[in-house]
Every structure is written in C-alpha cells, then in structure tokens.
C-alpha cells in the first residue's frame, strides 16, 4: 500500500536517491579537471532536498509507514534534516580534498550513507534498523579507507570495518534474541510486551547488553571508543568530520528510540539508566583526560568528541522529555560545531600540509577569518555563549538535574573545566604564538570557495543556535514529545 503519507514519509530518502542517480549520470560528462563540480551538485541537491522536505514533508501526528517499518514523526524529521545539512557541508569540504574531490563515487557513497542514516532515525522495526545501520556503515567503511596508498587511511578503513562488523554482528545477535523471545521485531509491539511482562527481565537484560555494544560502537562511548582516534586521524578529514558528527548522531537516534520506546519497563530502565549514567561519567572523563596530551588536531578532536558523547548520554540517562529534547539539541549544536572544527583542520592542512596543534601558531595573523572561525568552534566545544555548545550543555545539564542525577551533572561540570583547558590551549596557539620567523603576512591561508561557503555557513549556524535558541529547542522538543 503506497499511499501519499508513505511517500511523504520517505520523501527525503527518495530525493537523495534521485540525487545519487543524477550524480552517477552527470559525472562522466564532466572532464576530469571539472569533476569536482559533483560536490556542488551534491551539496546543492541536498540543500534543495532539505528545503523541499520542509515545504511538503513535515510530519503531523506520529504515524507508522511502510507496514510498520518506519515511524514518521518529528524526532526523525528533525534529525534527517540535520544529517542532510551535515552531508551538504561534508560534500563541500570534500571538493578540494586531493583524493576525494574529483571522484564521483565518493559523493555517491556519502549519499548512500545518508540514506542509511535517515532511515536509522525513523526505523520502528529491528530488521529495518539493522538494514539501515548497515546501509549507513558500509559506505563509510569505504570512505574511511579511501586514500589508497596512504597507510594511515588504509588502516583506518580496515580498523573501522573490522570493529564495525564485530559490534554490528553482536547487535544483530541481540536482535535475533529479541525475535526469539518475543516473536516480533516491531519496536512498538515490543514495548507493549515489555509492559505486560511477556519477556522475562533476565532475557531482556542480555538482549539489551548486546544491543548496547552495537550502539556503543556507533556513538563511541567507553569502552567501545578505542577505534575512533585512529580512524579519525587516518581517514580523509572530511570523512572524519562526517563520522564524528552525523554518523554519531544517527547512533543516538537509535539509542533514543530503543531505550525510550522499545524498552521502557521501569524495573529494567532503572538498572539501565544507572549503567548508562556510569558509562556517561566514564566516557566524558576518559575522553577528556586522553584529549589533554594530544598534539595532533584530529586526534584531539577525536578524544574530545568521545567526551561529548558522554555529555550527550546525560540526556539519555535522564529518560525524560526534556532529556530527549536535550539530546537532540545537543546533537544539532555538536554536529555543526565539530564539522566546523574538522573543516578548519582541513582547510589548514590543505594549504600547509600540517596537522599538529603547534603548527597553528600565528593562524590569527595568517588568516584572521579562519582564526575567528576556530575561536567559534572551540569556544562552542568548551560550552561558552553565545555559541551553540553553551545552550546545548545547559539543557543537557538541566535534564540531568531534573531527573535527579546531580552527581552526574557535577562530573559533567568538572569535565567541562578540563575540556576548557585544552580548547583554550589550542586557541593560545592560534592567537598568541607566532610563526618561527614571524612573517605571517607572507604565509596567508587562502580558502577556496567551497571551504569558505561551508565554513561560514557552519559558523553562522553555531552562532544562531547559541543566540536564537527558541526554534531549535522547539523542534527538538517536538521530536522528544513524539517519544512519549
């Protein structure tokens, strides 16, 4: 039964698919030196898809579609828009990458992965969920190892693939156990069964543990975080940015839906929220402490992004409406901010070929605009107003306090301060130190047009989230409402 609602509910994915076909068809017509224009096409197409979805594809009351496979609601919609925006920014950042830029298939892989992520955000059925996770992951395995001939990239792709498959398999095993015990894969049906106690708590315990492994890998919380620094460092930088933001946010979409809908049993959730709370505390602390000694900017961002996973988890732990809203808002702010940070790292190493924090000495004189953008990104990561990171952090902490997890918020507070240390330290190189012979004027860092557009758009986005918070918060609030 393919009704109008069904069509609207997967409209963004259909548009991405059309865009992918367009890329395939048009790319061979461009000459090799013009082929990077595929990036313009991808980014423009994605933005158009966002616009079209906003105009005609807004969800009303939450409904099931495609025979209960997906859920058409605000939570999914908002996250989809976020992923597509991140995808557009990533496509722009890819354009001037020496290995990815002129390769049409790279953009196609990005689009394929986006379809998977979009479906992850709306999956209401475990089978659908597994399919969408794989759809999102497999292109990313390839993209992470895209720079053939670069050992680090090959290692990144391989590492990501091995661990990804291992954890996904465990999750799949969990899913199959769910089916074995309950006879259904429908998440909303499962919720009912849990409520009437048709599934024994012990079985549920084992199942959840297995599923958590799979999701833990996606969102990189401790102890499933270890792959991420190596992969982020080795993968082509635009891919690292995408991995650390959109891919992670998609993992959170799954976590939210599974834990808020499919497993809402109070007895169970008491145990699981405690577990998640401890995971959250360990994750943010370990991520931060390991970020302190990092010198490579990509590794620094990788560890800091682990700690941000920890903050986000506070919202999940809260298991309230505000908690869910805070997760979505945090993801929005974090996706833009971290993409910006990786974008800057990329624009910088594109010109200089360097990735060490020390090499950023004199950046504010070499390129004042890049300096300001880095200030925006890093202060937002620190959680300073008027940038997105501030409101996101406040709302997450608020959710934690509302749910009574004051101790967890205190750990978050301490971690924010540790984080401030290394973020400010990085800014010190940008603004205080100078290049060895102090002739920054002769070493400018020009931005190519795609970079300039992507970075400026992201900077503006970070500031908009941080100053005019009402619309973002309301959307994320609407999304959260759909979970209850």
């Amino acid at each position: 039964m393919f009704t109008a609602t069904t069509f609207v509910s997967i409209l963004p994915e259909i548009l991405i698919l059309v865009l992918g076909m367009l890329v395939l068809i048009i790319e061979p017509f461009w000459k090799a030196e013009k082929r990077r224009n595929v990036g313009w096409l991808t980014a423009g197409g994605l933005l158009a898809a966002v616009a079209i979805s906003f105009l005609v594809g807004q969800p009303g009351e939450p409904t099931s579609a495609l025979g209960g496979m997906i859920r058409f609601d605000w939570l999914g919609f908002f996250l989809k828009m976020l992923f597509m925006f991140a995808g557009a920014a990533t496509a722009l950042l890819m354009m001037d990458h020496e290995r990815l830029g002129a390769r049409g298939e790279a953009y196609l892989l990005l689009l394929a992965s986006l379809i998977g992520m979009n479906l992850m955000a709306v999956s209401a059925d475990l089978i659908m969920l597994f399919l969408s996770i794989e759809t999102a992951s497999i292109p990313l395995y390839v993209l992470a190892g895209f720079s053939l001939g670069d050992d680090r990239s090959t290692e990144a792709g391989f590492k990501y693939l091995i661990f990804g498959i291992l954890t996904t398999t465990l999750m799949l095993y969990g899913f199959s156990l769910v089916f074995g015990f309950s006879g259904t894969t429908d998440m909303y049906r499962l919720a009912e069964m849990f409520q009437v106690g048709e599934i024994s708590p012990l079985a549920a315990f084992g199942i959840l543990a297995l599923i958590l492994v799979g999701i833990g890998f996606k969102v990189a919380f401790v102890p499933f975080h270890f792959w991420s620094p190596d992969v982020y460092e080795g993968a082509p930088t635009p891919v690292s940015g995408f991995l650390s933001t959109a891919s992670k946010a998609a993992g959170y979409a799954v976590l939210l839906r599974l834990f808020f809908i499919a497993f809402p049993d109070p007895e169970l959730s008491k145990f699981w929220t405690i577990t998640l709370a401890i995971l959250s505390a360990v994750t943010m602390t370990l991520g931060n402490l390991l970020a302190l000694p990092q010198r490579n900017i990509k590794r620094l961002l990788a560890y800091s992004s682990i700690s941000h996973t920890g903050y986000t988890l506070i919202g999940v732990v809260a298991l309230t409406q505000l908690g869910a809203a805070s997760v979505v808002l945090y993801l929005a702010a974090y996706v833009l901010t971290n993409l910006l940070a990786f974008g800057i790292a990329m624009a910088f190493s594109k010109v200089t070929g360097l990735e060490d924090i020390h090499d950023y000495a004199g950046l504010s004189r070499r390129s004042p605009w890049l300096g300001w953008m880095m200030l925006t990104a890093f202060l937002s990561l620190t959680g300073m107003p008027p940038f997105g990171g501030f409101i996101a952090k406040v709302v997450v902490f608020a959710a934690g306090i509302q749910a009574g997890y004051v101790w967890l918020v205190i750990i978050g507070v301490i971690n924010s301060v540790i984080g401030a240390y290394y973020y400010l330290n990085a800014l010190k190189f940008v603004y205080l130190y100078r290049m060895p012979n102090e002739d920054e004027e002769n070493h400018p860092i020009p931005l190519t047009r795609p970079y300039a557009i992507a970075l400026v758009a992201l900077t503006v986005g970070v500031i908009l989230i941080g100053t005019i918070f009402a619309p973002w918060f309301n959307w994320s609030g609407m999304g959260a409402l759909n979970l209850f």
Partner: protein
C-alpha cells in the same frame, strides 16, 4: 518611555566589536575611533539611565522584556534597580577611560597603550563589555549566566595576547579555569533552583522576580546557597578563592586590568548578591558567619599581602582583594548599613582601582619596571598622574571627602551591628592600607628620579589626563556630595532587605 535604553547600552559594544571586524587590520586609528565613539555613546546613555532613575519609585526600572525561549521560561528581561544602575554607570566610565588609555602612543620612545592589533584588542574588550553590562541589567537567570560567561572568555584572549610576557599564559589559564569552575557551579545551582521552583509552584521560569516567591525550603536554601554564592564570589575575589585575581591583574594589559578589577570583580559580587542572597535569603542567614569569616580574612590578609609587595601592580592587585573583601563583608552583615556601604563600595572601588591600574600602566610603559624600590621621583615628570594617584590613594584609605569614606563607613557600621569583634579586627586593614599607600606614594612619586630613568620618562598624553580626570571626578563628587549616589543605592538595598524579611 519606550526607547529600549538598556538593551541599546548592552549591545552597543557588541555592535562596535562587529564593526571593527570589517575595518582592515592596518587601519589602526579607525578602529580606535570606532572604539572611542561607541564607548562615549555607551557612557552618555548610562549617565542618562542614572539620572533618569526615579528614586521615589524605587524597584526595577527601564524594564524590557522579550520572550526568548518560552518553552523553558527564558526571556530577555532587562531592568535596573538602585544597586545596578550605578554599576552600569561604572561600566560606562571604565569603558570610556579604558579606551582613552589604550589609545596607543606610537612614538617609539613611549610605546604606551596598544600598538599591536588594536582592532582585535578593542573587539575582544567590547565583547567583554557587552557581557558585563548584560549581567548588570539581566533579570533572568539564564541570561545572567549567559552574559556572565561572555564576560569571562574574552579575558583569556586579552591577557594571553596583550598581557605581560612573563606570566601571561599561566595567569590567563588560571584565571579562566577558576572563573569557569565558578560559573558552572553556579549554573548547576541555578538549574537546581529552577526545578525546585517548578516543583513548588508548577512554574518553569528563569525569571528572578518570579523566583523571589518560589518558596524554597530552609534545608534547600542551606544546601544550595553556598555553591551558588561562592560560585559567583570567585569572580568577586573572595578568600580563599581569590588566588587567580592578583596574577590575572598583573598579567593583563592596562585597560584590561582596569576592566577586570574595576568592573569584572563587581560582576561576581553583584551576581552573588542577586542570585545568592536575594533568591536564597534563608541560606544567606544560615551561612552568614562563614561568609563573614571569609570576607574578614580577605580584608585583613589582602591588605597585609599588599603591604609586603615590591611589585607595584601586585600591590594594587592585592589591595583589590582587600577592598572587594569589604564589599563581601558588607553583604555578610545582611543589614541596612552594611549593604548600603557595599553598594557604594562597589562603585567607589571600581573607579579607584581603575585609576590605580591606569597610573601603574602609564608608569610601567615608560619606566619598564614596576619594582617599587627602582622607582622614584615620578611626580616631577608626570605631575598629573601623581595627583590622580594620590586622590585614588585617599579613596583607598577611606579618607573623608572621598568616595572611599562614604562607602567604608557604613560597612563598618553594619559590621559593628552584626558582630562587633569582626569590625574591630577588620579595622586593622584601614591602618595597613594607609601604610602601604603612603609608603608607595613617597617612594614612587617623590624624591629624585633614579639615574636609569632620567630622560626616559615623558609626561602622559592628553587622553590619559582626560581619563584620570574623569575617574577622579566621580570619586570626589561622591565624597563631597554622597546624595549623588547613596539614596539611589538605598532604594536597591531596601528591596533586598524586604526579601531578607527585615524592615
């Protein structure tokens, strides 16, 4: 009157900072002109607010209110009362004088002020100013924390880039981390208060005026008063959390030291009063003894440490700790006189310490040393600055006819009523202060110029003189004519007393 004067004042510096970004980097004088123009504009507006504040009506005035995030009860809610209106004026004055002093004397043998990237300097300084003004006028807790953090982070860059080369990295990081811990702890406390209010009254709101009626229980107030109050009081330089402040003062460039000691420390004290004492009055009563003890130690200890400093700027820095201790001491009395004195002391100390740091900066720029024993005879070459410093010194010592007396006298009266022993102990600080101020005046400004400095030192510029004169003017006017400010502060204090359940 529908003109949104408070938001115009608050956002004027921010707009100026944005304008500066589009000025090309090498057009230094244009950046300076923009800075001066906007600072003057903000000063005029803050004077306008000050003189149009209706003392008979009291309470919060010039109220502006726009919904910001209705879902969480956050609104852009601005207003000033008798305590914050003088502080807005103080910010205007310090901003104006700070720009004058940072103008930059490009003559190679002077090299005073800011030569290196004035555009960025003023941009960061003005972002800071927006944060400061925002805190003083915010009546919404979320906005208060929002602006508070905006006031904290530019400090790091200002110190680290333009600060004193020897300690700037250490001092800037120390300062930022201290203040950040304070602000996040306070933030956690505020969130707890908001949700407690929600439980008590079913109202989800960050509005301070509504929260005054939230009906927090005694035990709740006892637990949460300390984190909230101390979190903000870190920026007020309360002992034992003052450690960042002298290092920060010394490492900062002149205008930033002025801003920092003159205005930012008031920010901490002010927020501690607004959020800590006014919203958790029973907690304040419960912990009164502790705050009083901390403040008393800060007063005496700060004065003593200032006394033994050989570095001129460190001396001023520690004297700030001592004088801000007096502000906290006044708060801790929770009575009419003490609070009135604190309100006045915040303005008086702000102007006085800004003046001190300005003069110290002028001397250091020219003599390249701040070691008190290496200086001397400055009065011969910089007579105007000398007179300014002496006036500041008299304020600092609490001499009658100057604003320091008008402020300190009520504080001690209030402390006497609350706990006479503390008043006796703290009065020692007056003696110590007089000792170090007079010793420094003699050593630095009188006597003969050391051989090393002869011919090196030139007089201050006309802009510097204007700045010094402006600051002195306020200190003298308040000293001679306390009615200029005291009745206004009194209206604010009465409001606080009502919340405390007193008269």
């Amino acid at each position: 009157m529908n003109f949104p004067v408070l938001s115009v004042i608050t956002f004027t510096p921010l707009v100026a900072a944005l304008v500066m970004l589009v000025i090309p980097a090498h057009r230094k004088n244009e950046a300076r002109a923009v800075a001066l123009a906007s600072a003057t504009f903000a000063l005029i507006l803050s004077l306008w607010v000050y003189f149009n504040y209706d003392q008979t009506a009291a309470g919060y005035q010039f109220i502006e209110r726009y919904n910001w995030l209705p879902a969480l009860g956050i609104s852009l809610h601005f207003g000033v009362d008798g305590i914050s209106a003088p502080l807005v004026l103080l910010t205007g004055v310090v901003m104006f004088t700070g720009v004058l002093i940072s103008w930059g004397d490009d003559r190679p043998h002077v090299m005073a002020g800011i030569q290196d990237r004035p555009r960025e300097f003023f941009a960061f300084l003005f972002i800071l100013a927006t944060g400061v003004l925002g805190v003083f006028v915010s009546l919404d807790l979320f906005m208060l924390i929002f602006f508070y953090d905006i006031a904290v982070f530019p400090m790091y860059l200002l110190i680290v880039i333009w600060g004193w080369k020897v300690t700037r990295e250490y001092a800037a990081m120390k300062l930022t981390l201290y203040l950040l811990i304070g602000s996040i702890v306070s933030l956690a406390g505020i969130l707890v208060m908001v949700f407690a209010q929600y439980q008590n009254t079913g109202l989800l709101s960050f509005d301070m005026l509504k929260m005054e009626n939230a009906g927090f229980s005694q035990s709740f107030q006892n637990i949460w008063f300390l984190p909230v109050f101390l979190g903000f009081a870190v920026l007020g330089g309360i002992w034992p959390l003052h450690n960042w402040s002298p290092d920060g003062h010394v490492a900062a460039p002149t205008a930033v030291s002025m801003f920092h000691a003159g205005v930012l420390m008031k920010l901490g004290a002010f927020a501690a009063l607004r959020v800590g004492i006014m919203l958790l009055p029973d907690g304040a009563k419960y912990w009164q003894w502790l705050i009083m003890a901390f403040a008393a130690i800060a007063v005496v200890y700060g004065a003593y440490i200032a006394f033994v400093q050989m570095d001129f700027k460190y001396m001023v820095g520690f004297s700030s700790v001592s004088h801000m201790g007096l502000v906290m001491l006044g708060f801790s009395t929770l009575n009419r006189d003490g609070l009135l004195g604190s309100g006045l002391q915040m303005f008086s100390h702000g102007a006085m310490t800004a003046l001190f740091f300005a003069v110290v900066g002028m001397i250091y720029d020219r003599a390249h040393t701040r070691q008190i024993p290496e200086l001397g005879g400055i009065g011969k070459v910089m007579p105007f600055a000398t007179v300014g410093f002496i006036i500041g010194g008299l304020v600092s010592m609490g001499m009658p006819m100057f604003s320091g007396f008008v402020a300190e006298f009520p504080i001690f009266m209030g402390v006497w009523q609350a706990q006479w022993l503390v008043a006796v102990v703290c009065s020692i600080s007056i003696v110590i202060t007089a000792a170090y101020i007079m010793r420094n005046i003699r050593q630095v400004f009188f006597g003969n110029l050391p051989k090393k400095l002869e011919g090196q030192i030139t007089d201050i510029t006309i802009l510097d003189k204007v700045a010094i004169a402006t600051l002195c003017l306020f200190m003298v006017v308040i000293g001679l004519h306390p009615k200029f400010m005291a009745p206004m502060v009194q209206t604010g204090v009465d409001y606080v007393l009502r919340l405390l359940g007193g008269s």
